[in-house]
Symmetry: C2
Subunit: 162 residues, 2 copies
């Protein structure tokens, strides 16, 4: 049985006690941008209830153009106002460089990716970089509460990056 | 008290009973790509355990270049093999068009976004489009198990799109 099939079996149990539908706009008007890392259960670590907040995730929790697209839709069409950015300790993005990663792909496939891999060297610096990318974007209108955090995968604790 | 501050209080309670750290590579070798919608608690609806699967999310659960970047890192550096794509009923992406959204932003800010908004008209068609974007990408090496689903926000149930 594949992992996908096992998760589908889990979903049947989930649906059995499910109560819906909730409204489309996030009730707490929050958008979270976090790393895709498997150890970040974003709902649990923030105590998010279903329907409360948009959750945007990618490799690194980096504020890419696609994260800006999602935040623009989140704020302009669905009314969110606060943004929470979450990076974490022991992140895979600290273990390689863009140049190496893209060169390896090019050697294997013959094609160099047109995108930046967005690896970074310093966790807190990259949180600050992400905050600045949000606050300087002309497409994200509400930037009064854009706060960045590091999640510690050993302790489960969020620390704010100032 | 802001919503962000309330979530930080929740995190203190989460950390008090947290046990870590788990290893960096996802233990079930799965990557999920899902919509950012607030009603999709991806860990709960699939019964994912912490540390099992990467979770990539954006507006629509669309396979953008940034999702491909994340999947490339997930498979090439962190060993995932199966991909689960999740769209959902009552999606905000069905309520607007790219042209309207980008024109409104241009009227308000004077700048037209350089990215596609990725709105879509048909949920199942867009799931199929997303599956094809993954399977046709030269940068995602493992495409033997790429399966697409619609999550019903009324019932909590996943339906596979063939």
């Amino acid at each position: 049985m594949s992992a996908t099939d096992e998760y589908l079996t889990n979903n049947t149990a989930y649906a059995a006690s499910f109560r819906g539908p909730l409204p489309l706009p996030p009730s707490r008007q929050v958008a979270v941008v976090a790393c895709m890392d498997a150890r970040l259960n974003v709902y649990a670590l923030l105590g998010l209830g279903e329907g409360e907040a948009h959750v945007i995730r990618n490799a690194g929790g980096v504020v890419t153009d696609d994260a800006i697209r999602s935040l623009a839709i989140s704020q302009r069409l669905l009314g969110t106002r606060e943004i929470i950015l979450i990076h974490h300790t022991d992140c895979g993005m600290l273990t390689f460089t863009d140049d190496d990663f893209k060169r390896r792909i090019e050697e294997e496939t013959g094609l160099r990716p047109p995108w930046a891999a967005e690896a970074f060297r310093d966790l807190e610096d990259d949180v600050r970089q992400s905050v600045r990318r949000v606050t300087s974007s002309p497409f994200v209108p509400h930037t009064a509460s854009v706060r960045g955090f590091v999640f510690d995968v050993a302790t489960g604790r969020l620390s704010e990056v100032k």
